[in-house]
Symmetry: C2
Subunit: 238 residues, 2 copies
């Protein structure tokens, strides 16, 4: 029933780095592919977890919801990235929602399969450790940002991160390559969509960004860096 999968999809995935071709094939064979239309949930907070997901194509948003319904966007996942793996190492429940923000294709491994793979190929465990370690660092960095910086700088940082992760050159600058609402940015930075809107409006009038409905183009990345780093604003034209 399963459509034939090209083992090459795992190439370049950090989790499987260092595996030989046979092991890759084995890993692919154990994975279950799925499609998710834009807006669909890949999994839901609190649900019992599969053991791991890898995004092949599209974009997925990881959102954590608090007891009072407040939402925080933990991160956006792009092609080649793993997600939803944290549950395996803890209580087996997803700690957040994953929602496709663009039409997406994803692979997932049942818990037993992943455990098995890890046992047979210890390098996967090492890889996982380094991935989770890197992510811990990232989140600590964001925690510091949210705890110490004001909204404008946080929004600048968030956009710069998105540019790095999903930036695409266009004529007028660099575009963030998936639908991104003001609300999304607000939930990434711990503020409200109103404040994000005002911030972007101000930047727009300074020619730093161009933005519209769920879409942002950075025209002067340099200026955004200056804001993020709290440097004196630049004079000249870039």
């Amino acid at each position: 029933m399963a459509p034939p999968l090209d083992p090459a999809v795992l190439r370049g995935m950090p989790l499987f780095a260092g595996l030989d071709a046979d092991a890759m094939a084995e890993a692919v064979a154990l994975a279950r592919p799925r499609r998710h239309a834009r807006g669909a949930a890949v999994f839901t907070q609190g649900e019992a977890a599969a053991a791991g997901h890898a995004l092949i194509d599209g974009r997925v948003k990881i959102v954590q919801t608090g007891p009072d319904g407040q939402q925080v966007v933990m991160r956006f996942i792009g092609p080649g990235e793993m997600f939803g793996t944290l549950a395996i190492f803890t209580d087996g429940l997803y700690p957040a929602d994953a929602v496709a923000v663009a039409d997406s294709v994803e692979l997932s491994w049942p818990a037993a399969a992943m455990t098995d793979l890890m046992e047979r190929h210890p390098v996967i465990v090492r890889n996982a450790l380094s991935i989770v370690g890197g992510r811990l660092r990232e989140v600590q960095h964001r925690l510091r940002e949210v705890a110490t910086e004001r909204v404008e700088r946080r929004v600048a940082h968030a956009l710069l991160r998105l540019v790095r992760q999903a930036g695409r050159r266009v004529e007028t600058g660099v575009e963030i390559d998936f639908p991104l609402s003001r609300q999304d940015v607000a939930e990434m930075t711990g503020t409200t969509l109103h404040t994000v809107s005002r911030t972007l409006s101000a930047w727009e009038s300074q020619g730093i960004v161009e933005s519209g409905r769920q879409q942002v183009v950075i025209r002067k990345p340099h200026a955004l860096v200056a804001i993020a780093e709290d440097l004196p604003p630049l004079r000249s034209g870039d």
Copy 2:
């Protein structure tokens, strides 16, 4: 030169869970013990890292410093906990300062020794993965708090976490068992020492806490939980 170390110090350390006695002894033999007086730095942000530290006794504060000097307390380490291990899995530099807030005794493993241990005893890698995974979850939780809750609730949460981690029963309630300044609490919660001081003063006048110089006793944990969870304040005397 090294004083003889009792292998039992590693008992109960999650990183070494599941190791047999021989392996434990091996691990202890490779560790280097050190004392740190209150206020001394165990290591410093940016410094090249040893591979791991374990606290035997005392209390250590992990503080990350931003480019403009803003500090954030990432966590407090108690006896039996590992710290400073994140560097191994990333770039080999400590991402934060570690400062002894009480006289402390610590073990550390040179990078080569730890790598060696992990290679010989894969269960250590598994343990590390689960520890780092758990910590990632914790930090994500705090990120949500800082991003969505107001100061009073954040301070309540922070104190409750400290009570869980280092609470000691005393006549009037539960005391946080190490020196903790207003500034520390501020850096844990992303606010200023002034606001923390005002918050604690208010709670003191409601009989919820008793606090003095670098010392906090929670008299009504229940009331603090109510604040943290944003429940209606309690009437009766508990």
